[in-house]
């Protein structure tokens, strides 16, 4: 965990290289976090990975979350890890819901972190977040022909019709 001044230092350095990329930074329950502009995600992740003295080379987890009713609604979380100093930093890219049938979009980080391939597919599968530049962005856990994005907060639990019709037919 970088400490509070360390996190501000990181923020300042990113600001000097990529102005406007970091929207917010802060500590939460002992985890350092950066909230970034989704259009600049690759620049920030690449900087954290390659800039001297940073070395957040290991992407331990990539996952999405839905903050409904907050706006912007979706977020992609990148849990980066520096294994030498055992420091974790969370990079959070907030994505607005484009509305109608359009899907939120963000650049894929598969080139930087090949481990993201499955995890980005999972985020696409459950939240409908499109990762531009992903080599094979298809559903991974749900059936190919599934309609809907079930991990979104407005998708009801039990929204899946159960096709056991025996009781209905016989006992109506």
């Amino acid at each position: 965990m970088p400490d509070a001044p360390g996190l501000e230092l990181i923020r300042g350095e990113i600001e000097s290289v990529h102005p406007g990329a970091v929207l917010d930074s802060g500590f939460e329950h002992g985890c350092a976090g950066l909230s970034i502009d989704p259009a600049r995600v690759l620049a920030v992740l690449g900087w954290l990975r390659d800039a001297p003295g940073q070395g957040y080379r290991f992407l331990s987890s990539l996952h999405a979350a839905d903050y409904l009713p907050a706006e912007p609604r979706f977020a992609v979380h990148y849990e980066l890890l520096n294994r030498d100093r055992v420091e974790r930093i969370r990079v959070k890219a907030l994505l607005a819901d484009p509305g109608e049938d359009a899907l939120p979009e963000i650049e894929s980080c598969c080139e930087l972190f090949p481990t993201a391939e499955f995890q980005e597919r999972e985020a696409f599968d459950f939240f409908g977040i499109v990762f531009k530049g992903h080599p094979d962005l298809t559903r991974i856990l749900l059936p190919e022909d599934y309609v809907g994005w079930p991990q979104r907060r407005d998708f009801p639990v039990g929204g899946e019709p159960v096709t056991f019709t025996y009781n209905e037919r016989n006992y109506g």
Partner: protein, 384 residues
């Protein structure tokens, strides 16, 4: 030629489908197809109060259920900033390490079975049964025990448990030696595992692989050592690492880990501190049964906890521990209500499975089966 293997095949260790491109017997390319046991656990968790989520998440990776509980409980404890008492830390450590041995035994038995060593399955499951007996004695269940609670563990260990555990811990290293005697000089086993499934350390790190697979390639990365978690900082143990990163090293690393786990259990049992086994905070922890008939306040707390459950203030956290398969992370997003807004598990099997293509291309299809066993994916954890 393209061959489809699975989803129902004993050598795929679960419901995993592999689409394999072959030229003769040599694998040119392969693609794992997953999702056959996806049950929407993460979504279902959003509809349950925090304490009811615990039995749900246990059923993801059904071989290392204590680790799933620890990941979730640890994440919630961090969100509500609840410190667990020292005795609970030690008890959790004991059960996690027992579970690690249990998981490695299941792995060793089934993988050796894939390679034709049928007797290994019976030997490994014999010891596994002793661990399950211990689980049953302490928790009432053989699998999916729901033993860890937010704040500690649900009950103290019963009378006689320590003796039974001690005799198991004394016996286990001898058993491990017997497994090694069966396999280490077995010509068939050696020629099947040595020099197969090699992936370089750099590539494994790129692919996010953790756990015994990474350690077999010579990287001594273990979250038990790296971060301050439970009673591990007070324990003395080694991290076994391999040199080449082939299937043989993976086998050696896991077998050595079983012995190290028995050492941890031994130390934790010796140093088990006295005191409460669960935190005293009545806002999150059920009051003891005896108080319910004497204290009105306890009755109110009890009623609140079992009907609505406790509320967790808005926040989010990612909490990672070292499971038998690597980094098991749990992300919990709380929105201030009594139910989590999102529970996500970074399952090591799911991430490690991406390395399978690198492990298998350019090798015989028979070696691919061996590599899959050594990868040790639990499809319940992959699909969640």
């Amino acid at each position: 030629m393209t061959v489809n293997i699975g989803p129902h095949h004993p050598a795929t260790h679960g419901v995993l489908r592999l689409v394999v491109d072959l030229e003769g017997e040599v694998v040119q390319d392969l693609k794992p197809v997953i999702g056959y046991v996806h049950t929407g656990i993460e979504k279902s968790c959003e509809d349950k109060s925090y304490w009811k989520v615990i039995p749900f998440v246990e059923r993801m990776d059904y071989v290392s259920y204590f680790f799933q509980m620890q990941a979730f409980c640890g994440a919630v404890e961090r969100l509500i900033e609840l410190e667990i008492p020292p005795r609970a830390k030690y008890l959790r450590t004991i059960f996690l390490e027992l579970n690690r041995i249990h998981s490695h035994l299941v792995w060793l038995g089934t993988t050796a079975l894939d390679l034709g060593a049928i007797s290994m399955l019976w030997y490994c499951f014999r010891e596994r049964d002793r661990i399950l007996d211990l689980f049953e004695m302490a928790t009432g269940q053989r699998m999916h025990t729901r033993y860890f609670q937010v704040g500690g563990v649900i009950e103290d260990i019963p009378l006689g448990f320590a003796e039974k555990l001690r005799s198991f811990v004394a016996e286990m290293p001898v058993r491990v030696e017997q497994y090694q005697a069966l396999l280490d000089r077995n010509e068939v086993f050696l020629s099947r595992t040595k020099g197969t499934g090699i992936v370089s350390r750099e590539r494994l790190l790129e692919l996010g692989v953790t756990g015994p697979l990474l350690r077999a390639a010579g990287e001594p990365w273990d979250l038990r050592k790296a971060v301050d978690c439970l009673a591990y900082p007070e324990m003395e143990f080694k991290i076994p690492v391999g040199t080449v990163g082939d299937n043989y090293d993976r086998y050696r690393v896991r077998v050595a880990e079983m012995v190290e786990s028995t050492r941890i259990i031994e130390q934790a049992l010796e140093g088990l501190p006295e005191g409460p086994f669960i935190a005293e905070d009545r806002k999150y922890v059920l009051p003891p049964r005896s108080e319910l008939s004497t204290s009105m306040e306890s009755l109110i707390h009890h009623f609140k906890l079992v009907t609505e459950g406790y509320r967790v203030g808005p926040g989010e956290t990612y909490y990672a521990i070292e499971s038998p398969r690597g980094e098991l992370g749990c992300f919990v997003l709380a929105d201030g209500s009594a139910k989590p807004a999102r529970v996500h598990f970074r399952d090591p099997s799911f991430v490690n499975l991406q390395a399978f293509r690198d492990m298998s291309t350019g090798e015989y299809i028979a070696d691919m089966i061996c590599s899959l066993g050594m990868l040790d994916p639990i499809l319940g954890g992959v699909d969640r």
